[in-house]
């Protein structure tokens, strides 16, 4: 399976699951200029949502304020060891993908 852009670690702690995700993404705002003075086109993750058992447990709207290789951590109630999380990201270019991570 090809490596996606998300690296996730999910662990059960008590009755909750703690999730940490790092996305490999340049998060170009569209305002930076290259060496010739031309604007580097915008390309950043717009939304990232995480679902467990078909239900969304976390949803973020990112944007130009989030810098390169965004890192987020959150906790949700429930979750069990060995189960999977579905993580879906969407770029402003329209590109989108869903990646999975196992809960440990």
């Amino acid at each position: 399976m090809a490596k996606g852009i998300l690296r996730a670690k999910a662990k059960v702690k008590g009755g909750n699951t703690v999730v940490k995700i790092m996305a490999k993404h340049a998060m170009e705002t569209g305002n930076r200029k290259d060496k010739s003075g031309n604007k580097i086109p915008a390309n950043f993750i717009q939304t990232l949502s995480v679902a467990y058992n078909g239900k969304t447990v976390m949803e973020t709207n990112m944007g130009t304020a989030i810098s390169k290789n965004p890192y987020l951590a959150f906790t949700f109630v429930g979750g069990a060891k060995g189960e999977e999380l579905q993580m879906t990201w969407t770029e402003i270019t329209g590109a989108t993908a869903t990646e999975t991570a196992k809960i440990k």
Binding site: R7, K9, K20, M22, K24, S67, K68, N69, Y71, A73
Partner: protein, 286 residues
């Protein structure tokens, strides 16, 4: 401008009188004893911080300062250099145009060898750091050199450090010429420079864990084991000699040449001082 002028007046270059710390093994070829220096450094820090085992010093200031240790451990949970290791691995395994690869230039295919660098190269008659070896490998195979301080070379170095984690540093001084290089590094480390007239030792021996503005300098024991480093200030990975230049600029001195003789000898000295400690690169620091 006003502040700088008064600094000029205050910076006293009067020597010798103040520091009464006993000399170590010495500052000449006849009297220098690297092993004695190394053990003296360890005992110095053990006296200052009796609760901290020597092996912990690979974590730098985080071995000495609890609050920053907590923050750092949080960061390490999902280390910012993880992508760099992956990219480094890919680059390391990609062959050159002529079909050879990095593995052909290094012992053991370049895996698990970080602890032997910098090394005294007899045929070249100079200290060879890991980054120098990487670029020498490239040039020997018809490739262009990489920039010394960041980017690709840092990622390759990070991957090679990563494969060597937990190996014990074992920098060797095989002959008198190597010892002269060590002595030169020791001199550099202890020489005051720049408008602020400070030496490496000022901040990283006597000044370790003592606030300078809003920062705590790390101890020089174990200081180089975690390089290359993802420095939050840089927002990216950088090599040890990138930091050397930065530090010299911090004391308002024109930085010496990256991977020039002075810096390589300094790295030789510093790494020898950390012999016996483990490789824990790449690392994350503030």
């Amino acid at each position: 401008m006003k502040i700088i002028k008064s600094l000029l007046a205050g910076a006293s270059l009067a020597l010798v009188a103040s520091i009464s710390q006993a000399a170590t093994s010495g500052n000449t070829m006849e009297t220098v004893d690297p092993e004695a220096d190394r053990l003296a450094l360890q005992s110095y820090f053990q006296k200052r911080f009796p609760q901290v085992p020597v092996s912990d010093y690979v974590n730098g200031i985080y071995a000495l300062d609890a609050p920053s240790r907590e923050q750092w451990q949080d960061i390490e949970e999902f280390a910012p250099y993880e992508f760099d290791i992956e990219e480094g691995e890919e680059m390391f395994n990609t062959a050159f145009a002529n079909g050879q690869s990095y593995a052909d230039c290094f012992a053991n295919g370049g895996i698990g060898i970080r602890q032997n660098f910098p090394r005294w190269d007899e045929s070249q008659g100079q200290v060879v750091t890991l980054e120098l070896a990487i670029n020498q490998c490239r040039e020997a195979n018809g490739e262009k050199k990489l920039g010394w301080k960041k980017g690709k070379i840092a990622k390759i170095s990070a991957y090679m450090a990563y494969t060597s984690r937990d190996n014990i540093f074992d920098v060797k001084i095989p002959n008198d010429e190597a010892k002269a290089a060590y002595l030169d590094g020791k001199r550099s480390f202890n020489s005051r420079r720049g408008q602020l007239n400070m030496s490496c030792a000022n901040c990283h021996v006597a000044g370790a864990n003592i606030l300078i503005r809003a920062d705590l300098p790390g101890p020089t024991l174990g200081q180089v084991t975690h390089f290359p480093v993802f420095r939050s200030k840089w927002g990216e990975l950088g090599t040890l000699q990138r930091r050397y230049g930065g530090c010299q600029k911090n004391v308002r001195g024109v930085p010496q040449k990256t991977q020039g003789e002075k810096f390589r000898n300094l790295e030789f000295f510093q790494t020898y001082m950390s012999n016996g400690l483990v490789v824990n690169g790449p690392g994350a620091r503030k």
